[in-house]
Amino acid sequence: MSTDSTRPALQLSFSDKLRLWWDALARPTQWAVGVPFIILIALLPIIKPPLLTTVGTDFGSVLAQFGMFALLAIGLNVVVGQAGLLDLGYVGFYAIGAYTVALVTSPVSPWNLTDDWLAQDWAWLFAVPVAIAFTAVSGLILGTPTLRLRGDYLAIVTLGFGEIVRLLADNLTNITRGGQGLTQVAYPVVGVSEERPNGIFSAGNTIAPLNSGTWWFWLSIVLIIVVLLIVGNLERSRVGRAWVAIREDEDAAEIMGVPTFKFKLWAFIIGASIGGLSGALYAGQVQFVVPGSFNVINSMLFLCAVVLGGQGNKLGVILGAFIIVYLPNFFLGRTELLGIPINGDDIADYKYLFFGIALVVLMIFRPQGLIPARQKLLAYGRPIYVATRKAALALSRKPAVETKGGAR
């Protein structure tokens, strides 16, 4: 290559062009584009686009499930994508969040306190911060001894953690009622009307299109936006930079003065809290919590969403979560697709097989995921990013450019 003095003009892929276009927009314009887009997504369960909508299950419920998975994916992405800590037991935090809400609010729980001092109508809302705090503490408890481990060893220990949580839920029968589960978990009782005697969030609200699934989807959109803002602020600060530095070269980060253990622990705590929040949503929506819902295979699904979408990219992992939740539900109950008769239920049953194949194929052709990470780690780097963009655009418009000399 040393004889080559020119190279083709910078080739911008579609995603790069999209990114450049988006970055070039002024802040108000970004809002003007972004907000209608989010509203459009929020209205999906009402619009029910013909090919997109699901047949076997209610579209709103599917999207509500997607919202929870998206939260989980964002939380897991903090741990796996940003800090590079492979956590295979993430479902444990999801379970702890769900069980905390259930234990605090379910009338069959041994701590049936709600009737005494906590109004049933608001019980769920009060239980959510408790669940978040509890999972944060459990993240701290798991992280403190294990985060001295690295790579595969950490993965094995976290895998064990996920199993331990499920086994405890299964076997501590006098607390969790084991396989019988905790029933009648609280949910936010709002919007009570004659048609909807238990409020809009009750599982009993099945009046389409504004059924409970749709409402839970909307609630999760709000929570996703809040969580994205928090995680985004962290990413563009010393915390996010420390995470990426730890992911890239932990020893070098430590020697550059980054307290790596502290920030790894923070990644675990923040990831766990987001997982707990999602678990609290789940418990409220389903109103019934059993250990079987928290199998370790779910951890793999969450991880699959993160890897599929693009580790380290927040929008990417949301897309990953959508694929993981939506595709099996898309096929469920479908008997024909574009005129071809299919057995959709069978296809949905084999989802683990298909996701496994999809992951292998992805690792061969696009190991960075569907939307690769382009993290911006500087909160106030806008002038520099603007200057870079100008230079990049100028470069891409030139027919050919001189190669920059090796050393300067």
Binding site: S237, D249, I255, M256, T260, W266, V386, K390, T403, A407
Partner: protein, 331 residues
């Protein structure tokens, strides 16, 4: 490990240089083009970012905003006191004693396997001395955590470049400023005023540092896409970002051609003139003799000489260590 051919640019290094040059200058850059590095090959217009960056004295001022050494040039900054490091039965450092004085450039030389890097790792807290003391600023650092040692004021670069390859050059340097940040997770989530202040400060300092080492216009390039020489410069900028009192450079000229070595010598002098104390490990005798104020020579973990470069170069023990002694002379 017992290759004595360390004087001058050894053939071993030339080979390393060629292979690294091919790797960095060639295939990597092309390999990463398809996956769409927008910043690839982009030189940004610094004047548009911060007009102050065009002024070298302003840059130097920002780089070393808190010079404290002028008052006490010549006082010992780091003292190795009878330091011994053993790995099992192997004694890597044997009762090594020397000082690094404020405001000087100290060269640490010796044949391969002499214990230079071990010495270095002991100072930066990677190894703990088996016996003896390392005092920094009069304070023992034997039991201080690695990231705390950086906060005390010792920064280093690596013999094999260890940048955060997926980050831009600018972000790499900003990670170096982490040692001086005090806000943590809550400050970042709520964007507290101190957090904002620190972030702005870090950004300005990082840009100035990149300009100081001469790669300011490449600030938003992924560090893995930088040329080999620029990566070495970036490592120095990242180490300086921790606001060290002592900057340790581990073979910064490995794989450099003569022109690059000259530029590096100028940079090291510039760093010293800006108020930093520099410890330099280097194989290349010409570079060491050209830039250092004092030289310490190690061989087989022992200090065999300590003095001005010219004295050390004519020391028979040093010559013997580097060139070997004829068989009949030892017999």
């Amino acid at each position: 490990m017992s290759n004595p051919g360390g004087i001058g640019a050894g053939s071993e290094h030339d080979e390393e240089f060629r292979s690294t040059e091919e790797m960095v200058g060639g295939s990597i850059a092309e390999e990463y083009l398809p996956d769409g590095g927008v910043e690839e090959g982009v030189e940004i217009d610094l004047a548009a970012v911060d007009p102050g960056l065009a002024d070298a004295s302003h840059v130097a001022e920002v780089v070393a905003s808190d010079r404290t050494i002028h008052a006490s040039v010549g006082e010992p900054l780091l003292q190795m006191q009878g330091v011994t490091v053993k790995f099992g039965g192997l004694t890597a450092l044997d009762d090594v004693t020397f000082d690094i004085r404020r405001g000087e450039i100290l060269g640490l030389i010796g044949p391969n396997g002499a214990g230079k890097t071990t010495c270095f790792n002991t100072m930066s807290g990677i190894y703990r001395p088996t016996s003896g003391n390392v005092l920094f600023d009069g304070r023992p650092i034997g039991a201080v955590k690695r990231n705390q040692i950086t906060r005390l004021g010792i920064a280093r670069t690596f013999q094999n470049i260890r940048l955060f390859s997926d980050m831009t050059a600018l972000e790499n340097v900003v990670v170096g400023t982490d040692a001086r940040h005090r806000t943590s997770v809550p400050g970042a989530i709520f964007r507290s005023s101190r957090h904002r202040h620190e972030e702005h400060d870090a950004l300005d300092r990082a840009m100035a540092l990149l300009e100081f080492v001469g790669i300011g216009s490449r600030a938003t390039e992924k560090s893995r896409n930088l040329s080999y020489g620029d990566q070495r410069r970036l490592e120095i900028a990242r180490a300086l970002a921790t606001q060290p009192k002592l900057l340790c450079l581990d073979e910064p000229a490995a794989g450099f051609n003569p022109a690059e070595k000259q530029a590096l010598m100028d940079l090291i002098r510039k760093i010293r003139d800006d108020g930093f104390t520099v410890l330099l490990i280097e194989h290349d005798m010409r570079l060491v003799m050209g830039v250092t104020d004092r030289v310490v020579v190690l061989e087989f973990g022992r200090k065999i000489a300590d003095g001005l470069p010219s004295e050390v170069a004519s020391d028979p023990a040093v010559i013997a260590a580097y060139l070997g002694v004829p068989d009949d002379a030892t017999a």
